[in-house]
């Protein structure tokens, strides 16, 4: 019962193909295109922020609009760009990597994706609602989002519900695929490391997206149905919101970084021409990070008020995360040690990721120390820290993954010259943008402000310069990818990379519409 290749007729045919598709490759492509479109929208917002902050004084945005822009920048980047792009990788690569014909539930897969544009239509429409868009910051702290939130907050709440449904369904689908659709003979421990990273990520998604849904539901009832969950007068507490939000929020951060670990763990061995060092320990490290992510949330709220014993507990658990993370960094470096290294663009991005993410991790360790955190809390140090983790971390790994797999997806190599240019510009500008933020924060510049004291002027000008450079570098990336998709590059073989291991390289490039309709045999060493 196999179906023919889709042969769309006219525009209507094309729309039908993409809207009704149940094919994991189509859906993966949709996720990636949607994710990168949102990345450019949210990136444009970040340039608005940096343009505002280029020098002291008010230039571009009034303070109210500034708050809306930073809120929407954060939410759009996390829920609109990073998560969908990672889900796009999952859709394309998981069935290919484990020798499955498709995801376990192809219809559900379609729904998971198409919910996103609908949800983001609602989220973006908040910008045009009377009273202005959501302005409480991406963390939506009560009572900023409840008592003092604009009417548009309600639209944001329902769009978060839709995003939650999408994420939970996608995660269930991924976990069912990984547990049941592996080719015979591929035991769990033999499963490729990227697939493993997504197994753990999917578990985190199923565990915490309902928590976010419940929390925003309470926000909604506080706003409209007279409850006082986040209101002390009725026996609730705004602090409760922070606890619930970060119980979601911290695992969420690892949802964004674990698949990145998976991508890097695939790329480094290929270009080192060596198997991944300590594969088993890498898998256990991912699991360990995921488990720990549930018991560290209160480190986001050290200054919000909590018992000393609680503070000490969360301080130690947070520092404990650096152990499995350290294992991963060590293993990547050990994989490269004495390898026959070549530095194609994916490998450059991977090495960039390892070094930059380590910096982001180290500043995280600084933030974990409760007494020191009293100084860093809500300063630009925090902004610098998480942008190192998410931009210099997750985003660089995504570029690495795109360059690594795009020949498999399109059948053509990208332009290596433009790829390298993109890498060097991105790496340099990321550091120009975010490195000064640490010093600004240590010197006392608070985050989420549209204006600042004169003493912060020089560093802020550097940050803005870097941000615009980074934005420009992404245009090179977009051009390079569009050219590759149009088939302008060199034709790629099925193997693509000389030393790439794994089932996805056993099919031709571009990967046929239906792969592995009969389960492949796996070689003993994979």
């Amino acid at each position: 019962m196999s179906h023919e290749h889709p042969s769309p007729n006219g525009i209507l045919g094309h729309i039908q193909r993409w809207v009704f598709t149940t094919n994991h490759k189509d859906i993966g492509t949709l996720y990636l295109i949607f994710g990168f479109s949102m990345f450019f929208i949210a990136g444009f917002m970040s340039l608005m922020i940096r343009a505002q902050l280029v020098q002291p004084g008010m230039q571009l945005l009034d303070p109210a609009t500034y708050n809306v822009v930073i809120t929407m920048h954060g939410l759009t980047m996390i829920f609109g760009a990073l998560m969908p792009i990672l889900a796009g990788f999952a859709n394309w690569q998981i069935p290919l990597a484990i020798g499955a014909p498709d995801m376990a539930f192809p219809r559900l897969n379609n729904w998971s994706f198409w919910l996103l544009p609908f949800a983001f239509t609602i989220a973006m429409s908040t910008l045009f609602v009377e009273g202005g868009g959501p302005n409480a910051g991406w963390t939506l702290y009560a009572p900023l989002s409840t008592n003092y939130g604009p009417p548009s907050m309600d639209y944001l709440i329902v769009s978060i519900h839709m995003l939650g449904i999408s994420s939970i369904l996608a995660a269930i689908n991924i976990i069912a695929t990984l547990l049941n659709c592996r080719t015979p003979g591929m035991s769990l421990m033999k499963m490729p490391i990227f697939a493993w990273s997504w197994m753990v990520t999917a578990f985190l998604l199923i565990a915490v997206m309902p928590v976010l849904a419940g929390t925003v539901t309470m926000m909604l009832t506080d706003r409209h149905f007279g409850t006082s969950f986040f209101n002390v007068a009725g026996g609730g507490d705004p602090l409760l919101f922070q606890h619930l939000f970060w119980f979601f929020g911290h695992p969420e951060v690892y949802i964004l970084i674990l698949p990145a670990f998976g991508i890097i763990s695939e790329i480094v061995p290929t270009f080192s021409r060596k198997p991944l060092f300590g594969r088993t320990s890498m898998i256990y490290a991912i699991i360990c990070i995921a488990v720990l992510s549930f018991v560290v949330w209160a480190h986001h709220m050290f200054t919000a008020g909590m018992l000393l014993s609680t503070m000490i507990f969360f301080m130690y658990t947070t520092m404990l995360v650096s152990v499995p993370t350290g294992i991963k960094v060590f293993n990547w470096v050990a994989t490269m040690y004495k390898g026959a290294l070549t530095f194609e663009t994916p490998m450059l991005f991977a090495i960039g990721f390892i070094s930059m993410f380590t910096l982001g991790g180290l500043t995280g360790l600084m933030l974990a120390i409760a007494p020191a955190d009293f100084q860093y809390q809500d300063t630009y140090f925090v902004v610098g820290h998480f942008h190192y983790a998410l931009v210099a971390g997750t985003l660089l790994s995504m570029f690495a993954g795109i360059y690594y797999w795009v020949p498999k997806w399109t059948g053509y190599y990208y332009s290596e010259r433009l790829g390298k240019l993109h890498f060097w510009l991105s790496l340099i500008s990321v550091n120009i943008t975010f490195m000064p933020m640490h010093f600004l924060g240590l010197a006392g510049m608070p985050r989420r402000i549209p204006d600042y004291g004169l003493q912060f002027a020089d560093f802020n000008a550097w940050c803005t310069l870097g941000a615009f450079m980074f934005g420009f570098a992404q245009l090179i990336f977009a051009y390079n990818m569009i050219q590759t998709m149009r088939g302008k590059g060199q034709k790629a073989s099925g193997q693509v990379w000389e030393a790439a291991q794994g089932l996805e390289w056993s099919v031709e490039s571009p990967a046929p519409y239906h792969t592995f309709t009969t389960p492949p045999q796996i070689k003993s060493e994979t």
Binding site: I165, I172, C181, M209
Partner: protein, 266 residues
């Protein structure tokens, strides 16, 4: 042994589902904002969602029966696992409200009443009269948010309803065994009984809510006690409603002879 794969054909169902949720979401918020089209849009969305789900499940059932997909252990296990993980997500959803109840009782109220940390100033500055007595009949600021006149008694409808739910667990197990042992009459009888128990539960819960609102002054807005009471029992009642609907569909399919003692049948 290589297995051939069933390739799922393109589908319009998710698009309907998206449109339905979109209308429901926009309609609901518009309703809250007193826009006149709100209720109509929300109800249209909800109806569309039900239709979509009906169509979706029907499609899956037909497909599985037509191609005997239930013989495929891969598909069998996928459905089981996904249901398991879905239930896990529900557990996490409910844990938000249980966690809230826990946090209110163990941290917030002792804090506001000055018990932890000892000698805290918050208590004396904000509401020095506040005492931490659960159920919370007197909120920290009764002028702003009035508490209920009385709490819901555990003995009475709640205890009886618990018994109803536990019994329905027994009856559905007997129905399940009826299918295993090919005693279809037993299965149908006890399945029907389970559905009736579900409906009885919901009926009694409506009575309970009516009593709470009209006699006890216990409303959703009645401070922390009312908030958590209605949030937890409300979402639970919603789940019982959905579960009863599912049981009805299963009963209908039992009567059509869809279920056999095979280890898996969808």
């Amino acid at each position: 042994m290589p297995r051939t794969t069933y390739v799922v054909p393109p589908t319009y169902l998710p698009l309907i589902g998206c449109a339905a949720l979109f209308c429901l979401a926009i309609g609901f918020v518009s309703w809250l904002h007193q826009l006149h089209y709100g209720p109509y849009l929300a109800i249209t969305g909800f109806g569309l969602l039900l239709l979509m789900m009906f169509d979706w499940f029907r499609t899956v059932i037909h497909e599985v029966r037509a191609y005997q997909l239930d013989d495929d252990p891969v598909i069998d296990h996928s459905y089981r696992w996904s249901m398991g993980w879905f239930i896990f997500s529900e557990v996490m959803f409910f844990s938000v409200f249980f966690g809230t109840l826990f946090f209110i009782r163990v941290f917030i109220l002792p804090y506001l009443s000055g018990a932890i940390p000892e000698g805290t100033m918050t208590h004396f500055i904000l509401w020095p009269d506040f005492k931490n007595i659960w159920p919370l009949l007197k909120t920290p600021d009764p002028q702003a948010i009035a508490g209920p006149k009385a709490a819901m008694e555990a003995w009475g409808i709640p205890a009886f309803n618990t018994l109803v739910l536990l019994t329905s667990g027994v009856t559905i197990t007997i129905a399940h065994w009826g299918i295993f042992k090919k005693k279809i009459k037993q299965a149908v009888l006890f399945q029907t009984l389970t559905i009736l128990l579900g409906i009885l539960f919901l009926y009694l819960q409506v009575q309970e809510y009516a009593e709470a609102y009209h006699h006890l002054g216990l409303t959703l807005g009645a401070g922390a006690y009312g908030n958590t009471f209605f949030m937890l029992t409300g979402f639970h009642g919603f789940h019982v409603t959905l579960g009863t609907l599912m049981l009805m569909v299963i009963l209908y399919r039992m009567l059509k002879g869809h279920f056999t003692p095979k280890p898996f049948c969808i």
